[in-house]
């Protein structure tokens, strides 16, 4: 995963790593983060860290689907939206029930029920879509697969957005907070419990995901398929199973991100658009198929956004990161961290 410059540079060891594009970006990010902390106050940084973790989850799923199935998933944001919706419909009745008969244990567990339900629904949705849509196309033709499957996901996105709008209406369905407890104090900064838990959840999920891909047999099979499909097939890997699993995993992660951020992103039909393109920014920033990089990229993009929104004004937080990502694509088409996965070139 090292870039060419890193291997041929004059600097030894860690210095070489430091002066690669990735290293420089990391340094710049940390500097900017500290500067933001000093100038704008800790709240901006906390926001960036909390959302950054979840963007990393979105990006990891997106990049996995691209690496394994060669699908550029335009409907990824809709899984996020489904996640918010499920969490809302599970959590709201529970909190109503809690108001009637309070119970501290249930109050602590109820949000997790919502998030878990979103995870399961997301996974099921992924399986259904793979079986109903992508499998059908794959059976018929593999010609221009990337473009065709991309257009399928565009269709899926439209169907999911407007289907949800028809059934549940276009209004905002949100909650103010998951845990009704006073905020906690972290190094002198007040952080609401929701944000803290969401951050921990993102980190734990990311860790589990990484462990799954690296250390388990199925995870290794998934990575094998993303590296060389034919070779994986010859090793007796069941391709259909891997593909179903990949899409289910990716959509479950997106739904989890949606459910966890319900208190920041109330559920409405087009809520997924923003997370979708943020996830794309992250993936392009760090390159395809780079799960660990997605974590860093998630924080970079989130920081960029909160900073833009703080210094330039709300509303511009989409324009500036877009320009930034376009610049990156221009200079380094394979992403900052330069991992060139085969899927990048159309076959």
């Amino acid at each position: 995963m090292q870039s060419v410059e890193a291997q041929t540079g004059y600097f030894p060891g860690f210095l070489r790593q430091l002066f690669s594009a990735a290293g420089l970006t990391l340094l710049a990010t940390i500097t900017v983060a500290i500067a933001t902390f000093v100038i704008a106050g800790p709240f901006v940084l906390v926001n960036a860290i909390v959302t950054g973790g979840m963007w990393a989850l979105m990006a990891a799923g997106l990049s996995l689907v691209f690496g394994v199935m060669n699908i550029v998933n335009f409907a990824h944001g809709e899984f996020f939206m489904v996640g918010t919706l499920v969490a809302y419909f599970v959590f709201t009745p529970l909190s109503e029930y809690l108001k009637a008969n309070p119970s501290p244990l249930l109050a602590a567990v109820a949000p997790f029920a919502g998030i878990l339900a979103a995870l399961v629904v997301g996974a099921v949705l992924g399986v259904v879509i793979e079986k109903l849509v992508f499998l059908q196309l794959r059976k018929r033709t593999k010609e221009q697969w990337i473009m065709n499957s991309f257009l399928l996901t565009v269709g899926l996105s439209v169907i999911l957005i407007n289907g949800v709008q028809i059934v549940w209406g276009p209004d905002f369905k949100g909650i103010t907070r998951y845990w009704d407890v006073p905020p906690i104090d972290v190094f002198g900064v007040t952080v609401s419990v929701d944000r803290a838990v969401v951050f921990i959840l993102a980190m734990v999920t990311m860790g589990l995901f990484w462990f799954f891909l690296r250390r388990t047999r199925t995870g290794r099979a998934i990575r094998a398929v993303s590296q060389d499909e034919t070779g994986a097939l010859m090793m007796g890997i069941d391709m259909n199973r891997i593909q179903v699993l990949t899409l289910a995993l990716s959509s479950a992660l997106a739904a989890l991100a949606g459910a966890s951020l319900l208190f920041m992103f109330p559920s409405y039909p087009t809520v997924g658009l923003k997370p979708l393109y943020i996830a794309w920014y992250v993936v392009i920033l760090v390159g395809m198929g780079n799960v660990a990089g997605a974590l860093v990229g998630g924080f970079i993009v989130a920081l960029l956004q909160t900073m833009t929104s703080y210094f330039i004004g709300p509303g511009w937080e989409d324009v500036i990161p877009t320009a930034f990502v376009m610049l990156i694509l221009l200079v380094r088409p394979s992403g900052l961290f330069g991992s060139e996965v085969k899927g990048i070139h159309e076959r």
């Binding site: 018929r140 991309f150 399928l152 407007n162 039909p269 989409d318 324009v319 877009t322």
Partner: protein
């Protein structure tokens, strides 16, 4: 009519053959319109006077459909030829619309001139988008143009002093009349011009180069086609037309919001162009008419289900992509093949 001219007309013709054709046929060949296409155009020209369609509300649908048809042609010019989906298409449309509208509002430029001037910044932006996407292949170029579109949409939304943002910009209309019929003829002429110009380009040597790049960029480069030049050219031309059509949008509807530039609008055009058949130029333009009428009918009859028409777009897009990737254009070729077979060696209708 001699039989050999009939069959030969389907291909590009040598001069010798061309001299044998009548003046009318030569004109048809030059415009790239078949007899069936001519019939369709004539039908379209008289339809605003045919009773059910002469109603003002149906005329509005007709104008909407014609506008979509022209956009689908411009969209297919890039998608079907160089095989790059310009996912920011609607944004370029919006650039043209906003330029023309702002020129009219701020400087008092006549909409008739402003519409053409609107094509200029759209073309320039298209030129730069073409350069931006050069190093990227297929899908990454699509993503890049999407990002450009998102950035433009963001600017239109947030630059409130200029565009009034989501409040919408009131724009002067082309004419003072309340009737829709003159507007139909404006967009009708624009549709014909768009079709003839883009069809002409795509049938020329340039179009051949576009197709070569779209199919295999490396092979095209190896055989001496300069992908840089042709891709940028394609983007510039497409965006110029998008901007021009955007000008009509601004001065017909009289109100302009950034929503015009949203991705969902691009998806609408994309679905129509694909259902019509990519790489055919005419497919999307043809299917737009029955399709938009169906959609508008659904929309006016099922008001309690907003967004249903978009679900239909999505479902149809998926079904076409999976089961019939050639779209309506391929179906037409199939029918033509059947007719041709039955008539043996007899004449077949030329491609539209």
């Amino acid at each position: 009519m001699a039989q050999e001219t009939e069959t030969a007309r389907t291909k590009s013709l040598p001069i010798r053959e061309r001299s044998r054709m009548s003046g009318w046929e030569r004109a048809q060949n030059r415009l790239g319109v078949s007899r069936l296409g001519m019939l369709f155009i004539v039908l379209l020209a008289i339809i605003p006077f045919v009773p059910p369609f002469s109603r003002e509300d149906l005329l509005r649908w007709l104008i909407g459909a014609t506008l979509i048809a022209a956009q689908a042609i411009a969209f297919d010019f890039t998608t079907g030829y160089i095989n790059v989906v310009n996912f920011g298409f609607a944004a370029f449309l919006g650039v043209g619309a906003y330029t023309s509208a702002l020129l009219a509002v701020q400087l008092g430029v006549s909409p008739w001139i402003g519409t053409f001037l609107g094509a200029v910044p759209a073309a320039i932006l298209g030129f730069f988008t073409g350069i931006l996407t050069l190093r990227l292949r297929g899908i990454f170029a699509a993503l890049m143009s999407w990002f450009v579109g998102l950035a433009l949409l963001g600017i239109a939304r947030n630059w409130v002093e200029l565009t009034r943002g989501p409040l919408g910009l009131n724009t002067p209309t082309f004419l003072e009349t309340a009737s829709n019929r003159p507007y139909f003829y404006i967009i009708f002429v624009m549709l014909i011009v768009t079709y003839v110009v883009l069809r002409w380009i795509s049938r020329s040597q340039i179009g051949l180069a576009f197709k070569a790049i779209g199919q295999n960029i490396d092979a095209a480069r190896a055989s001496g086609v300069n992908p840089t030049f042709y891709r940028v050219l394609n983007f510039t031309v497409q965006c110029a037309f998008a901007g021009w059509l955007g000008g009509f949008y601004a001065h017909y509807y009289g109100i302009l919001t950034p929503q015009l530039m949203a991705t969902s609008h691009t998806v609408e055009i994309l679905a129509i162009a694909y259902i019509g058949g990519r790489g055919s130029i005419w497919g999307g333009a043809f299917i737009a008419f029955p399709f938009i009428f169906l959609i508008e009918w659904l929309r006016s009859n099922l008001t309690e289900m907003p967004g249903l028409h978009l679900v239909i777009y999505g479902v149809l897009l998926i079904l076409v992509m999976i089961f019939y990737p050639g779209g309506v254009a391929q179906f037409y070729e199939y029918i033509k093949g059947l007719v041709g077979k039955r008539r043996g060696e007899q004449a077949v209708a030329p491609t539209a």
